[in-house]
Symmetry: C2
């Protein structure tokens, strides 16, 4: 069988230093990968692109928080209860498996169905389909839940339990009060975390697609639910989205509808404007990573597919050669679920105070106790009585006094001489509420893999990695045409200049020029700069385009400026110099 694109990309990635499985010399540990010399640069450039689009341009900020969290955090967030997967064990070889995956792979049940099942139903389905251990054919035990968080101890005390975070979101919620003060109490506001996260998958087997340790990009965006408009909507309202809607999925169709952001909101398909806004930005982000519009879609999660905190969720999916549609990001409307949970668990007040645009003034009936009379009647019980009176409903108390000449405050009979009833003016300048959260969340490992798969191209039997110029790990290669006659010296000098100007540049003089070009095409270097005999005469060099293999000739003096423009998308390849005649 011919290798599929995943195999080809993985082989290249391993050979040239993009990514490969970790710990191979120790037999490998599934679910862990390395990003290599080239891959780590590319992955970071993708994360920086997220920072640029979703944070810097929108005036939002990032925070960096620990991966290890104390147990209380995940008690509050609901993860201790919900972050688990059904697992079965083979009673013969003792291997363990995700029970729902066995049903999907061996009985062909769709994930939509298995996600709805509880343990009992899963156990019955395994029996009904006669599923045995896929490794040895042994009998499987009844399914149990396995908590898919990494557990550890913090410090030397065995009761100080910690977990590796399965998402970074909680660290924003836990720190919300302080963050809100640091940005001077404005809403809407948002904080991202870009960092490693850990999910102790039972048996991960999909390379960079399902990892036990991965980089998560969580943006927690806080809004006032009574003021949910997104002022930037104009930037994206005509952007079209391929939506696979829940109502259609329930009728058995996964066919997307193509709607503009505005239409999707008008028809109520997307609940929140900000959610639609972030989805549109995410679509553009993926286009900039090399994934065309028709290879992207947003699939609305069905109620039982959604995370426990979400009331509406869309996954952004990208079409991959081996796996079909694969999630690269999620957009969840988390409401006040998380902040409420931490408020309950920690006692910290997570509410914010917001001034009303118009101050509300209303009049209210209040009870005023007549202290002297209460003292005379109730003596040492007076403080207790005062407290009970303060808790009484003024309207009801007044009515009862009118009707029956007294009212009861607990077990005490309050007579007309003990209290007065008055009108009081109540001025409401603002309100206190728990902000709601819209969360865009990406996985950077998947984004990086997706960018590689879409860049992978074959031309005349040779691989070209057509990475967008701003995420290519190496920007430039400087090459002397031949290894003699002073060309290497001149090329090394130019290499030094470009390094000093901040470019990521490789120098290479080994082998024929054609082989060197091929080597740099294969790792996605957008431009090769060649020093040839003409360079020695007139201080010009050739610049070769990775994708078209065309060449232009430019002056060394102008290089810094025109190359900077090129990498900032202010100049195209054709505008870098004078075309070189084809031989």
């Amino acid at each position: 069988m011919a290798p599929d694109k995943y195999e080809k990309v993985s082989a290249l990635a391993r050979r040239r230093g993009f990514f490969w499985p970790s710990y191979e010399i120790y037999g490998g540990v599934s679910g862990f990968i390395n990003w290599g010399p080239l891959g780590s640069i590319m992955k970071r450039k993708i994360e920086d692109k997220f920072r640029d689009i979703f944070l810097r341009r929108l005036g939002l900020y990032e925070i960096e928080t620990p991966i290890i969290s104390p147990e209380s955090v995940f008690k509050a967030s609901g993860h201790l209860e919900s972050f688990r997967e059904p697992m079965v064990e083979c009673s013969r070889c003792r291997r363990k498996f995700r029970a729902d995956h066995l049903l999907q792979e061996l009985a062909g049940l769709p994930s939509q169905e298995t996600e709805k099942m509880d343990l009992k139903e899963i156990g019955e389905a395994l029996k009904r389909h006669g599923i045995k251990c896929p490794e040895c054919g042994g009998e499987l035990t009844n399914p149990q839940y396995f908590l898919t968080m990494f557990k550890t101890n913090i410090g030397p005390y065995s009761d100080a339990i910690g977990y590796g975070r399965p998402e970074a979101a909680q660290s924003v919620f836990v720190e919300f009060r302080r963050l809100y003060e640091q940005v001077r109490e404005r809403l809407p506001t948002g904080f991202a975390v870009i960092g490693h996260a850990l999910r102790n998958e039972i048996s991960p087997r999909q390379g960079p697609i399902r990892l036990r340790e991965f980089t998560i990009i969580d943006l927690e965006f806080f809004i006032d639910p009574e003021d949910p408009e997104c002022p930037h909507l104009g930037m994206v309202e005509d952007e079209s989205l391929n939506l696979v809607l829940a109502e259609r999925r329930l009728n058995g169709s996964e066919e997307p509808v193509k709607l503009s952001v505005k239409e999707a909101l008008d028809k109520g398909y997307i609940m929140m404007e900000w959610q639609a806004f972030f989805m549109a930005l995410a679509k553009r982000f993926l286009i900039e990573l090399g994934v065309p519009e028709d290879k992207q879609r947003f699939i609305e999660k069905l109620p039982w597919e959604r995370a426990h905190y979400s009331v509406q969720g869309f996954d952004q999916e990208v079409y991959l050669d081996r796996w079909g549609w694969v999630e690269v990001s999620g957009f969840n409307y988390r409401t006040d679920f998380d902040l409420k949970g931490h408020m309950r668990e920690s006692g910290a007040d997570m509410r914010v105070f917001k001034l009303k645009k118009k101050v509300d003034v209303r009049r209210e009936r209040v009870i005023k106790p007549v202290i002297a009379e209460i003292g005379k009647t109730f003596r040492e019980e007076a403080p207790k009585v005062l407290d009970l009176i303060s808790k009484a409903d003024p309207k009801e108390a007044e009515e009862q006094i009118k009707r029956q000449g007294y009212f009861m405050a607990g077990e005490y009979r309050i007579l007309p001489e003990h209290v007065k009833f008055e009108e009081r003016e109540i001025v409401e300048r603002g309100r206190r509420f728990i902000p709601h959260v819209i969360e865009p969340s990406f996985g950077s490992d998947r984004l990086a893999y997706v960018a590689l798969e879409y860049a992978y191209t074959v031309k005349d039997g040779r691989v070209i990695l057509k990475l967008p110029r701003d995420i290519a790990p190496i920007q430039l290669a400087v090459l002397p045409l031949v290894q003699k006659d002073g060309l290497p010296e001149k090329a090394r000098e130019l290499h030094g200049i470009l390094i000093d100007e901040g470019f990521m540049v490789e120098y290479d003089e080994s082998g024929f020029i054609g082989r060197r070009y091929a080597r740099f095409d294969e790792i996605g270097v957008p431009l090769c700069i060649t020093v040839d005999y003409q360079t020695l005469k007139d201080d010009t060099v050739t610049i070769r385009d990775r994708d078209s293999w065309r060449q232009v000739r430019a002056e060394i003096n102008a290089l810094t400026t025109i190359l900077r423009d090129y990498f900032n998308f202010k100049r195209d390849f054709e505008d870098l110099g004078v075309p070189v005649e084809e031989n």
Copy 2:
């Protein structure tokens, strides 16, 4: 008592979003901090500066690897055995403490002394000094070793033990074979990891200085021990280093000697050229972060202070207000310790092959068995005999045959008819060896804290954070002079332009201009750009310098270019425009 600088910096850091302790709403968990909206940008800029100085400019690469590692990695590296600290427990209140820290804090023993002690000596010293529980006065138990790595399980099997990495270096060693191929088998070569690391400290209490989770920057630099020269030495040979040498420390002096890199190498104080080279770069790096030369020193570790893998180690220390000299980086000559360990533990060949410049040809005496004769004499034992003959020393065997007419191969008597002796030509084109490692290693949290402490300045009773312009989290603030007459609109337009040009810019129109300047001085924004009435007339703005409070006036059209130059250190503040007359 007046707050010390640490308290002042921490208070500012917490209020304005640089750093603060994590999980405060849950009572805090010591050893964990957050880097906030401003702090995370600054910390990342410091890491990017490391990348620029130590990697990009030297043609070295970074990799990104998992934090969770299987047990075998730390068995090979020696951490399972050595990464531990002495701990005592109070038999009354059950609190646990670092035993050596108690000796340092309560009995005044220097760390040099406690680091030499074994468990028994520590126990005796605790008794001798009558040390009790510092919390409740209870009796302490005998000290035990506590493994300061976070332990967990990988996947659902209880025997698959994993640890949080206490250093990132091992992931480079484990992957060395593949990395070496990816960079096309060149030496010297180096790979850095910048990522979170975990040390399960017993009772950390020093804010960002001693953390359980922190960002490590490990650069593993591989050399051929027979070719240890550093070709870049010329770049730094005159750089002076403040060295506190081991031989002086043994004589009780911590007085540094100031030597140039060249002198320190010539006198043999620093073993390896590359080590000296990286130390010089580290000194410059810290100067660029704002730490002057006289607040830095390199202290050579005494044998018992060195990590188990190091044969010579220097710590770069910076003087801090509260703690005195504090380590910010370490430079260890790890030899082939780590690669050898992984070769032994995994069986993978970690040796590299290097062509010799000159092919070695030598002649050697060899034994050639006469198979037919051996078969006749030894029959079914013949294979065993052949094997034994191949292991015999040819010269010795030949001599014995000459002397006594036979030689013994194991228990077999080999006669002259069984063997011939011949000359053979051995051609040695290269050699196989395990590369040696020089390791510069930084802690980014400490670097970030150090930069903040050195930037913290008070002028006229107000705090100015004089951060170097290239690590300041926010580059520019755009401010309308007043909130009326079209100034906010004009300022917002300019803000948009600068955002589009890639700057990190804040816009602020609230409050008096002086208060806004003060707010931006306090968070280290190098330049404030003010839109005033003159802007509406001639499209010029004022630019205000954070440190001198001076102002110049410049044209909006020129801003992008001159500001870019300013942040690249190609232009000083004075060259940004025409000085504004002081009112």
